[in-house]
Symmetry: C2
Subunit: 150 residues, 2 copies
DNA sequence: CTTGCTGCAAACAGTTTGCAGAACT
DNA sequence: AGTTCTGCAAACTGTTTGCAGCAAG
């Protein structure tokens, strides 16, 4: 799957006439090798750990390329840190977010997707995409809270 | 309904020991008298138009009070502009957003709300709140696009 | 008179941009 | 060689904060 995405990016780069550079390789590898929802800051730190000398600006610019190439998606939570997650063509999922520890869990629900499409149609909208975030307290934080009380 | 909200804010202010100032009155009036989803910038401009001399910082600080008092809700779209909308206790709605003209339309769907609660439970989460944005093209932009082609 | 509120400007955080030099083709 | 890409630092944008003076209770 990682190889597949690399191929997808190379195809995109070729079509756009982009050059293949060491920096882009490194950033792509690190982005693909993690399955979390990394903020730019976190990604940059990871990149720099194994590869000092790569600048933030490059990480910013490269991540935007990944989005354009369709293999990453930008998440805008309300904490002021832009995060990026993997995206495969056609797939879609939403997020459960813990308000306490910021854990992010992905889920998918077909019924909701269908209802969303219906709502959009009812208002005359052509639906392009959607974002849904369920915010609450995750199981381990709930347990921790209970233990603290007792 | 405006009077009702003013009363709610005064109650909140009284409980918190906040003072009643001309600036807060003005900002509250203007916030309540609009039914759009105003960004701070837009709100500030409206405020200043009728009441020059009120600073941005005051608008920022006051809007946060409204949120705390439960009569406003912060919207984080991905355009980098924090917006505020009216909120009445217990009520909740979501948004249809036009990617072309940025129009925002509100809707509510009970079935989706129920499904969201189920999903949260299935993952052991205690659901606190949620955000859902359906992004697409609104009726008038669709029409405009069709006319442009033909 | 006491304390909180305001306006201003400076500080901040995250992101973008201009540019000279390095690197790819 | 020609052009794109990079790293650095400066610039920008939206928001927050410190502080001296003002105003509400």
């Amino acid at each position: 799957m990682i190889a597949e995405k690399k191929k997808a990016f190379n195809a995109f780069a070729a079509k756009k006439g982009l050059r293949s550079t060491r920096q882009r390789e490194v950033i792509l590898d690190i982005f693909l090798s993690t399955h979390e929802h990394l903020s730019i800051e976190e990604l940059y730190l990871k990149v720099r750990a194994s590869n000092p000398g790569i600048g933030q600006a490059t990480v910013y610019r490269t991540l935007k390329l990944f989005v354009e190439a369709g293999l990453a998606r930008e998440l805008t939570l309300s904490d002021g840190h832009t995060r990026y997650e993997h995206q495969m063509a056609g797939e879609h999922h939403d997020h459960l977010i813990c308000l306490n520890c910021n854990a992010i869990i992905e889920f998918e629900d077909e019924t909701i997707e269908r209802l969303q499409k219906e709502i959009a149609e009812r208002h005359g909208f052509k639906l392009v995409t959607h974002k849904m975030q369920l915010c609450g307290i995750c199981p381990s934080c709930r347990k921790a809270a209970i233990e603290k009380v007792s």
